[in-house]
Symmetry: C2
Subunit: 327 residues, 2 copies
């Protein structure tokens, strides 16, 4: 694995505002937490080797078959499993900048980058740019590769219509990754799933280790799907707040906040590096941002912001202005 | 992954006594469960990409360096990680009967079985036989293979002295697997670790996906190691009870309970298959045993028992006697 991911909150003392992970930090998780405490005795037994009960529930939600769903220990586990399973294909393609783990997982299993790579990875909405690709473009891209992996980890953080699992089964070579970690703002639990044609899911399941998913993560997944929990009560106002924050940041001299179709976006500062700004915000304001300079294709000046509450967003704007005034 | 592991309790209704997993089912986990409930908010943040804080604590307990420890999502995750990492070695060796996942993980990554295999797997104490190999024999075995993987998942369930991590670093090619799942009877959490020379740990870490371990599992691990929790209050009397149970089972006509140096052991019934007995015990008595017929080298008549409380053990003996009387 590589160093330098977002949400490195464990490295800092006294962080009060976390803009660094692309996750909505104000989800009301109290009911879920109570549910897990009531089911804590589950840690005394093995989980299902493969969490079929949760897979059935997810399939039912999407109107697809349970054999078209594979639950994993988070979206990252799904990425590594797919790279492992198709390693005899040997070539991959990825559009930069994007989440670094596609390339990292392929490198680990001996792939080489090639524009016509057998395995093509697409993050939609894309991390870190926040851009969304339409269903037509996804189908179009699937024609040029043996397999197209579409990571929809951020699918619940956009007003754009995204390709639905039932509609993506037909070309036969599209593999969708979904993140319950992100869908429900529970990154500590490690829970995600893959949807694809049954033959692909069967192949991936053969390659998966048993008991891959923690029993509390499975229990949480069943409760969240069963109760049809919605993480963000009002997505439209959250997206509006994202645009308000972007406008405020763009009003700062020498700063640019790039367009987005989701709740996170890239920024650059002309006069300082992202690392300098990050260190200042963390130490002086208890604010954590994502230094995005290690995304291939970006520069030492790029950082990423995920929209939080209006008060926190205002505090971020003030803190960045103070950073610039001190220099 | 293959089907047919132990502790398939989720497949049955009304199981009251579980002899099927090799885990002591009467551990007092109430303090741990309370601790996890108090720290349930941890699910809102990503875990450490690599749980270094827990690795430091484990290393301290053993008197080794933190760079000689790698925490994994259970011992099975460790097995698959090792098989993945050394897949270019192409040959393995394993002594049957033993835990099937060594072979399964090697098969998955394209290895072939060979008596001089580069990667040799040893389960100590061995599942399902309960036999222990001495330190001298481990060192001896390490001379014949490039790497010797010693799975000590059941190390806390025996009075025999087992090879200690600090003593196993020196040959340089021994990789020990440890299971906190089994050490503390929390199989639902998925928590284990590898100890080996720093160069091996460094190599394995490069091959590990980030955020492999659930944040609650890490939290549990820190609490268990920090409080030096001992799972089995009186190991000697538990081992004595194991021998008492074996003697009772051996007194049944047509039944054999094999010798063991741990809390579980193999049995055979002359007149019925393990599958028949298992079905009867589960449906009629709410008792779960492990059909061991799918261990390579064993027969349809083999099953495995893990010692439970004296009352439960007596109930098992009575139930098996009833099964035979009905036939």
């Amino acid at each position: 694995m590589i160093d330098g991911h977002g949400d490195d909150i464990y490295q800092y003392e006294g962080i009060r505002m976390n803009f660094s992970s692309n996750i909505y930090a104000h989800a009301d998780l109290s009911e879920l937490e109570e549910h897990l405490c009531r089911h804590m005795h589950a840690i005394r037994s093995y989980p299902e080797p493969s969490p079929r009960s949760l897979e059935k529930m997810i399939a039912h939600e999407y109107g697809i078959d349970a054999d078209e769903v594979l639950v994993t220990s988070g979206a990252t586990d799904a990425i590594y499993l797919i790279a492992q399973a198709f390693r005899d294909r040997k070539t991959y393609h990825v559009y930069h900048p994007t989440f670094s783990e596609y390339e990292e997982a392929c490198r680990l299993f001996g792939y080489e980058e090639h524009p016509d790579g057998a395995l093509c990875w697409l993050c939609n909405p894309n991390n870190p740019t926040g851009r969304v690709v339409t269903e037509d473009s996804v189908i179009e891209a699937s024609r040029y590769h043996e397999f197209l992996v579409v990571d929809q980890s951020y699918e619940d953080y956009t007003l754009c219509r995204l390709p639905q699992p039932a509609d993506m089964l037909c070309p036969g070579n599209i593999i969708q990754i979904h993140s319950m970690t992100k869908q429900y703002a529970v990154p500590g639990l490690r829970l995600g799933y893959i949807t694809a044609q049954a033959s692909i899911i069967r192949f991936l399941r053969q390659q998966q280790r048993p008991w891959a998913v923690n029993v509390l993560a499975i229990e949480a997944g069943k409760w969240l799907v069963g109760n049809r929990k919605s993480l963000i009560p009002d997505l439209r106002s959250y997206m509006d707040e994202t645009q308000r924050l972007r406008a405020q940041l763009n009003a700062i001299d020498g700063m640019k906040a790039f367009p987005t179709q989701t709740n996170f976006f890239l920024c650059t500062l002309e006069s300082a590096t992202a690392a300098q700004l990050k260190e200042y915000l963390a130490r002086q304001h208890g604010i954590l941002i994502r230094d995005a300079s290690n995304f291939r294709g970006l520069t030492p000046h790029h950082f990423r912001i995920a929209t939080q509450s209006p008060e926190e967003n205002d505090a971020l704007v003030v803190a960045i202005q103070q950073f610039l005034d001190r220099r």
